[in-house]
Amino acid sequence: MRAKSVVRLRTAAGLAIAAVAIAGCGAAATKNQPKPPVTIGFLGALTGARSSLGTGMELGANLAVQNINSHGGVLGHQILMVAQDTASDPADAVPAADFEINSDHVAAIIGPTANTTAVVLPLADKANIPELMFGGGAAFDQETDPHFFRLSPSDTEQAQAMVYYAHSKGWNKVALAFGEAAASQSLVAPIEASLRHLHMTIVGNVSFTAGQSSYRSEVQQVFANHPQVVLSQFNNTTAGIVFGETGQAGFSSTPWIGTNLWYSSAWVSSVGAAATAGNVYISNSSSLGMAGATQFISLLKAKTGSSIPPNGAGFMYDAVMTWALGADAAGTWAWPKIRAGILKASNPPGTVCGSYQTCYSLLKKDKKINWDGSESTVDFNKYDNVFGPFAILNYNSSGAAQTVTTLTPQALEAAFAG
């Protein structure tokens, strides 16, 4: 009888000890368990005619995510970026954004371009999450939706850069040659305004409809009044035909200034020899002097082996970094504090920083930072637009683009003030 009691006691004690041990292990496990990741959603043209842009943008965003995660993530949470394809079509962008918001429960949307932002922004607005977009559409120059942030300079600034350069070269008789697509036509008005501001003369303004097999009549109209320069943007296929026919018509000595849309190997391939003849200049966003460029280029080179970023990559890198530092500054990624955090981390005053670890360590010491990105200073104006330097590029004989000069936002602002 006494032996049975001892056995029962020992069994009970053993069970009690086991229970305490299990409880202790559970507590330790909970303490060591990593925080759940925070999900952000990338939207871009991963297929279709603009897939080279979309995949470049996704690369930049991924580089930022990997960089931030390698330094502890956002507020201790690793970032998980999910990507949906818009095919650069607003009809596809809506379900893509809807999926990210309602199924993936993203904390921010990264990457819609100018032609898809118009349909995605209302969804972001309804979900109370920020949308950090890339694109120059002048329609967003005075966007008042607080969820909207643009990480690339407006077409208005690009128009000023093109006109400023032409003026600096003494090319004051200007012809305009733009594609009929909205993305091209949106440049015409700011270019005309900039030309008038500098008292330059428009001697021709011809619209080019995509998909035609001949533009000879249009080419004759562009050059009818002997312009000193042609300012232009149209797609690669149209460019191939136009430049061919321009050469055939004997106008190949007239310089052209195009937009960053022409800064691609596909454009050089389409246009052929005319691209490398030395008469084509391109205004493109520049990383010159940007504090965030060093880390971005270093990450890019480690990932791809190249230090030349694809179109859009730098802007989306800046977008993810901006959101992450904003969340760090605000202590949360929830709305509306995330908006205040983004502005606090990005805008002056504050210590300028360009790498995530530097910016984050300053924030942890309660210092005010002024995060500068890889493509702009990421200083948002009252409409949440940024301004950046523009490089004027010129293709050399082997098809590589070289910088001719760089135009700072301050210089452009001074030239077009008032």
Binding site: R216, S217, G244, G250
Partner: protein
């Protein structure tokens, strides 16, 4: 007046390319009685085969012959493998049309698979423009117009003065009767596909030269202009296709001088619709289909 004359000249060049394509398609339609929606991609295929031969070191003109031969073989192959079996089964025209659409996707994707999506260029250029009277032509334009004229003249002589040409016209008019008269209509149809492929390839090369760029969607984008030319001239009427091509080519360029160039295609087709409202059978009177 100068710009107008130049536009007419540009229109003649455009018309030359459209005429080559339209005549080839019209010939095929007149004999087989259905439209090949893959025709634009056949044009692109011919241009790419010529490009491949040119890039491999062959001189340009022999390369064009290679392209023409290749596209002729493609046409014959499509007939033997796809269309003839269906026609023997008395398949409906709709079935044949859908097959041509499928063939269009296949050919376009084969082109992308082999040559990629980036634009490519021939090693030859068409030169700089010269003033010839009131017109502005490059040496390449003149060669293209000359080649188009020569090929169309050859076709005319072939159709009118050779036994095979007579057999082709007979098959086009009534294939059952032609067969009953001892004409090997199967052979006639094969040769029609081959000749159509040759015209198609030369048109494709001409188009690639004129647009300074060769890309996978080149011919497909031109297809509806070609359709417009053969409808305007009268479906299945080869001489009508030539006339239709001339009208559309010139209208397209001239309208750009008076209206916003963005609408020049629309204006040209508006005129086509107007003509068809007045004369639905097309511009040329009916004298059998391959006339």
């Amino acid at each position: 007046m100068n710009l107008f004359a130049e536009a007419v000249g540009f229109g003649l060049v455009t018309a030359a390319v459209i005429a080559l394509a339209a005549v080839g398609l019209s010939l095929q339609v007149s004999v087989t009685n259905f439209v090949n929606f893959a025709y634009g991609d056949f044009m692109t295929f011919g241009a790419y085969v010529a490009y491949a031969a040119n890039a491999a070191g062959l001189n340009f003109f022999p390369a064009v012959l290679v392209g023409a031969a290749g596209t002729g073989l493609l046409g014959v192959g499509a007939n033997l493998i796809v269309f003839r079996p269906l026609m023997r089964r008395k398949s409906r025209t709709l079935v044949l049309l859908i097959c041509t659409v499928g063939l269009s996707f296949i050919v376009q994707n084969v082109i992308v698979l082999i040559w990629g999506t980036n634009s490519v260029h021939y090693t030859v250029t068409i030169g700089n423009a010269l003033h010839i009277g009131p017109f502005l032509f490059t040496p390449g334009d003149l060669i293209l117009i000359g080649v188009a004229f020569g090929l169309l003249a050859l076709l005319h002589l072939f159709l009118q003065y050779t036994r095979f040409g007579t057999a082709l016209r007979a098959t086009s008019n009534n294939s059952d009767l032609a067969q009953a008269c001892g004409i090997d209509t199967g052979r006639v149809i094969n040769w029609t596909w081959a000749i159509s492929g040759i015209f198609c390839a030369v048109a494709g090369v001409g188009l690639a030269l004129e647009t300074n760029t060769l890309r996978p969607a080149l011919g497909f984008n031109e297809l509806f202009v070609v359709f417009g030319a053969i409808i305007l001239g009268g479906i299945g009427r080869i001489y009508g296709a030539m006339l239709g091509a001339l009208i559309i080519g010139i209208l397209t360029e001239v309208s750009g001088m008076f209206a916003d160039p963005a609408y020049k295609g629309a204006i040209a087709f508006a005129v086509v619709v107007l003509v068809l409202l007045i004369r639905p059978q097309g511009l040329l009177p009916s004298r059998g289909r391959s006339a």
